[in-house]
Amino acid sequence: MAVKIDSEACGHIQDCPVQGLCIKLCEQGAIIEEDGDVKIVPENCDDCDLCIQNCPNQAISKA
């Protein structure tokens, strides 16, 4: 099912209060940094929802 990121709300690493907290939290490699931005790798997502729960901008939701 994976997750999706609301591009308007997302801090895009640079403006994220924790510089990409979702990337740091996800141990499955389902959210990675690519070209300085956040990228979702749906096949790695385990639907644990840690990123959804902890995103400081509430930019992540179920896909």
Binding site: V18, L21, K24, L25, E27, Q28, D46, D47, C48, D49, L50, I52, Q53, N54, P56
Partner: protein, 335 residues
Amino acid sequence: MFTIERKGEEYRKLAYDNLNCVGCGICVETCPTSSLRLGPLVPIARGLIEMDLISVSDSCVFCGLCSIACPFDSLSLTIDGEDVKNIDSYPSWDVQSEIDDEDCIYCGRCKSICPRDSILFERKLPEISSLVRGEISFDEDKCIYCSFCADLCPAEAIELKNIASSSVDKLNNSISVDTSKCVYCGVCKRICPEDAIMEVCSTCMLREEIEVPEISGEAFIIEDSCVNCSWCSEICPVDAITVTKPFEGKLELVESEEKVCKGDSCHACLDVCPCNAVEIVDGKSVTNLDFCNLCGACVTACPQDIRILTRTAMNLININSDSWAEILNSLVSGK
């Protein structure tokens, strides 16, 4: 860490100490003016964000309910310098973690298991020389300084100085034994190829006159950082530790079709548990209720919201005000 104050007829001060805080959010739940906020528990526990778990807003009315409700002494409200926890008319937690000096054998198992590093421990063991008796000496005329004895000595009591360039020159070699370490086991004598070691153990013979050794020490629990998890009392081999927990009840993992525990992918519960009571077993979170203090931090941390905490009793006593009772008693029941 924060301190806020209000000066008036009374001087009230509320202080928060992050060190003891476990992030249970009980203060946030009970604050009548919704002035306290719990920070992002999992990122803080994982060290991804450095910030206090609890923050306060200026709507605080300095009632002190949070400091009373906190089972871990992280918040304290003082009125004219006196902590409300020490004022008779205020409620207090009837919890304790204590080591009985009489029964403690100073083995140190409690210290090594404590998840909060809350046990101060020191012990004094007797000198080896007061436990054994014997004699040992080397015949330096026979010794070839092969160092078999020193290499094999279980007590590492034999010191050999052997200067390689002059190994045939016995003047530059020396062998000595530290009698404060020697246990007169005789290993050196048995291995010596030159029969150069004289060793006699007289411990058994002199059994009657060797005093029974005493182990002394000190062990106590630092109440400030203790979270009453009871690891120490469970592991103590002589039942010298008493722990009373703040709550009684249970914590269950209730999965549904949509929501299941993600175990190793998530392990948020394990990261935030102050009691070291959570394990991921076969991909699922398992909480050992023997060590859980029912604080509820894991319930807040679980992104699946499948942890059901049911507190059936609490050891907060002397609640005199009806309005406080209503709020505080709400801690007992589901979360």
